[in-house]
Symmetry: C2
Subunit: 575 residues, 2 copies
């Protein structure tokens, strides 16, 4: 890595000079050359085609220090598909074209082409990267991005070692087929995942805990290097380990429990939180946590690490791996059954966890007031017989020309110049299926004044079926937001009085619970165009998102390669 | 259709004016609006995802008259894949950017975008259109393009009615998975097709002729509208029918026989041929024929139309449909077993048919001499452990920037400026596996002087395995060529004396037989960049093709949309 890949002598010279400058600042550029292509992988003991990076699934873990510049030269080795990669949780300050959202921040990288992602990782934390085009994330295009504190800085907690746990879910039906079903009339839902994966490994046709199971599933037997063999966490007694936990599931809300061990939550989405201890931890797609684990149990045993489904009736077995205490053999199975996931619909359990998260003392506090409030009603709808998700009755369909370029160059015909509404019909009954389920497609955006404070109220509602309201984890690009509060039923103006302005957690992802609302606040201080969407992959595919544009006139020169499609590919439009 | 889709009043006015002009010339513009997307289809009685056009598979048949302008507004409704459509057999005189070859004539159309194909169909005949990006043709992106004679013209034969028969082959493994296997190390071959289709219909899990079969396959029972029910040809006795036959198979060489009926071949690839009668007809991927069928059998019976595999050991059942004589019920099965395909490796049978094809008297004759001879050795090779096909030891890998734009704008860094060789090591022993199987990837092209006469000798050879040499149907874009002759073994200079310069057939596709050579001649009179390749889809994917550039400086203004990728997307490069 380093500067090796640079070509000419002149560049080598400047690279050397910049390195000196970087060293003097304690930060540096970290170069990666990646090739995206489909590979065979037996991630759940059955062979599938997955989207890999440099032959790996999940993709290689990026490790950098706060202040570093990450440079990824991404070459698309797919045959007919474009590709982009989103750096989930990285705010892309000054580099909105590197956010990796097709149709929003850049043109998809064509087969055979290389795009350079170059961005600063300004804050330490546990992050993710993943595809953000079609449903390529579901195809396996994801990995971990971990930012350590800068050399001169310290974490506000101590640990002796760390592990990285990336959770995902896997379907046996290909993503291409899933997409067809989701767009079909009649609609075909993708169903529950076949397998949950921990670091890209799970067991579909066997179980690590077969002997504790009533189901007739066989005990897994691994000879050694199977791609579905669990990554075992090797620990020593009486140490403190940091587990970096992130979920990049397409659908599943998850719960993690480690047999006999408590976890102390210390980080959420790259933000330090007031430490609190839990027996199990809920995690939604797009979220990350760090927890501290004290190895205070008997070292003569091993212990289950168990991940199960929440929020939807689970039809997928728990994912399992093992916490292995030295000097016990790693192959010794724990002696009791794995921790049981809390009942999938025990929302009080979920809410209790979520409401336990507060910013660490000394964290940035939210502005006391907002300039604009946008209420986003989440509804399930029908358009021409297909099932869609809509926000304020608009189901998002992204345009072929990315917003960042079309807005910067004033191409008013690139998308609907009419903004979607900031609010909804006040009479809408969120407790019932929509009276009129029809919605409309749209690609209009919310234009936000730079440096204003925006409140977003995510308002959940009943879906198309009676007595159904689902959990949706909403993820904001380009920013962190403060989570000011959660409430039941319909948001009312007076609910504002209950907002937590003292120590609300900063996040980039927050859920709405069934029939509830979630209040977020952020400062629009990052010129660019930013997606804000449900992080459930098929829900986004079904239109569940909005787009915020802020201060695009202040965006620097967009790399030409990010504009090479749609109306911005036409040179006359940029002259 | 017509001019309906044009927007403004001004356009409507001009459309009207142009219509008048066209009417006065007897030709007109035929407008089509197409959307490409994946659809569910049970084309072989099992449900699959196929690439459809306007919800149809195969795509809609285009029907036009010689001299007409065909205008197809193609919208890509795929989620992450680009798309193009090649109009196979249409020479694209003056419109090389409409040839529909990704990386050669145009940039792939991005998801959500629309590209206008506008071209003249100058000669009557039976043509095909199909995807020409990755292996999208294998995914089902194809259909028929039929050009009738102009109003003032007559065909040189009479018929009372006509039928269109488009043959294809189908795999149950998705094209995306096929591509992964073909690019993998170790290499995984796609195997033989599961089903042969006639007009997009075949039977995988039943047979129309089960009662004549020794295999334990059940008799098909159709209730009516099944997508896999055969299209039956309804005829009356003592009439002459024109069957327009085309093969768009990914792999299979085919043989057609109609029980109890002879066929008189009258057209090949849009060129009239000296009529000759056959009991069965060999057809290779990319070829088309018209045959005349005289319904001279008993009208109290129906008769099998049978299509089987040639040239590879067949593992795919014959495709069947029925010739139904009025007034016999269409549901009455023929009384004997379907015609048996000639033995797959009876190459003499194949050669006898192929060598029976001569141009109709009065057809254009070839120039007597050539300006340049290019000998193209077809070899199977290994590159980094993968199996590839190479031409003169170069395995074609197309560049991200299409040649047409990069050559016209002088972008010398878009591809290897060194041409591949016009000939090969004279000592190469075509009868044996390659001594050194290693080959190289390349994207260099053959630059051909405008209006020169080019001879191409396609030279077959032994593949990697001993005693294996396969049939390859080679297809040339932008031209017809004269097939001057076929020979056994290695081409020698003295073989030229045996060339047929009197009445060689004009074709756009010609085969090389195992261990043989085929001599072609064409006049490079069509400015553009033209693919010339094996029409077997996985073989092209494995590098079996070359590219000819001729007179690109004479190409008119390339539509900007065809340039919106790679180096031609960079406006500086076009200034």
């Amino acid at each position: 890595m380093g500067c090796k890949s640079w070509g000419s002598r002149t560049l080598v010279f400047w690279c050397f000079v910049f390195s000196l400058i970087h060293v003097s600042l304690g930060s540096k550029a970290r170069h990666f050359k990646w090739e995206v292509e489909y590979i065979y992988r037996s991630q759940d003991c059955l062979e599938h085609v997955v989207m890999g990076i440099n032959g790996q699934f999940p993709g290689p873990t990026i490790r950098a220090k706060a202040g570093d510049t990450v440079v990824v030269e991404l070459t698309n080795k797919l045959h007919t598909e474009g590709v982009v990669i989103h750096w989930h949780g990285i705010r892309q300050i000054g580099t909105p074209w590197a956010d990796g959202t097709a149709s929003i921040s850049q043109c998809a990288i064509n087969p055979g082409e290389t795009f350079q992602y170059r961005f600063t990782v300004d804050r330490p934390g546990t992050y993710i990267y993943h595809g953000h085009y079609g449903m390529q994330r579901s195809a396996g295009l994801y990995g971990s991005l971990i930012v350590d504190v800068a050399d001169e800085e310290k974490e506000p907690f101590h640990y002796d070692g760390e592990f990285n746990l990336l959770f995902s879910d896997w379907w046996h039906q290909s993503v291409h087929e899933q997409e067809v079903g989701l767009s079909s009339n009649p609609f075909r839902w993708i169903g529950e995942p076949q397998t949950l994966l921990i670091n890209g490994r799970g067991q579909f046709n066997c179980s690590l805990a077969a002997k504790f199971s009533n189901a007739s599933v066989s005990q897994c037997k691994f000879r050694g290097n199977e791609q579905c063999a669990p990554q075992i966490l090797h620990v020593r007694r009486n140490k403190t380990y940091r587990l970096r936990i992130a979920s990049i599931t397409a659908l599943a809300s998850l719960n993690l429990a480690i047999e006999g061990h408590k976890m102390v939550v210390v980080e959420a989405d790259g933000n330090y939180v007031q430490p609190f201890a839990v027996d199990d931890l809920d995690i939604y797609s797009g979220e990350s946590y760090s927890v501290l684990l004290r190895t205070d149990q008997l070292s003569s045993n091993n212990y289950w690490i168990s991940v199960g489904v929440r929020g939807r009736e689970p039809k997928t077995p728990q994912a399992l791996t093992i916490l292995n205490y030295f000097p016990t053999s790693a192959s010794k199975l724990p002696t009791s059954q794995p921790p049981v996931t809390p009942p999938w619909n025990d929302y009080n359990h979920s809410k209790a966890f979520t409401k336990s998260i507060f910013a660490l003392m000394g964290s940035p506090q939210p502005p006391r007031t907002h300039h604009r409030r946008i209420i986003l009603l989440n509804t399930q709808n029908r358009i021409n017989g297909s099932i869609k998700w809509s926000i304020n009755n608009v189901s998002l369909v992204l345009p072929p020309t990315p917003y960042l370029g079309s807005i910067k160059y004033g191409l008013n015909n690139a998308f609907d110049q009419k903004s979607p509404p900031d609010n909804i019909d006040n009479s809408y009954d969120i407790m019932k299926p929509p009276v009129n389920p029809n919605s409309t497609y749209g690609n209009g955006i919310y234009t936000i004044n730079l440096n204003t404070t925006i409140d977003v109220i995510l308002q959940n509602a009943n879906a198309l079926a009676k007595d159904v309201s689902e959990i949706h984890p909403w993820h904001l690009h380009g920013h962190n937001f403060w989570v000011l509060g959660y409430g039941e039923g319909k948001f009312r103006e007076e609910d504002e009085k209950k907002f937590n302005l003292k120590n609300p957690p900063l996040r980039n992802t927050a859920v709405i619970f069934p029939y509830g609302w979630t209040a977020l606040r952020f400062v629009a201080d990052n010129p660019g165009v930013w997606a804000f969407h449900c992080h459930i992959e098929p829900h986004l595919h079904m239109g569940m998102g909005v787009v915020f544009a802020e201060g695009v006139q202040h965006v620097g020169e967009i790399p030409r390669a990010a504009l090479a499609c749609g109306l911005t590919a036409n040179k006359q439009n940029l002259d």
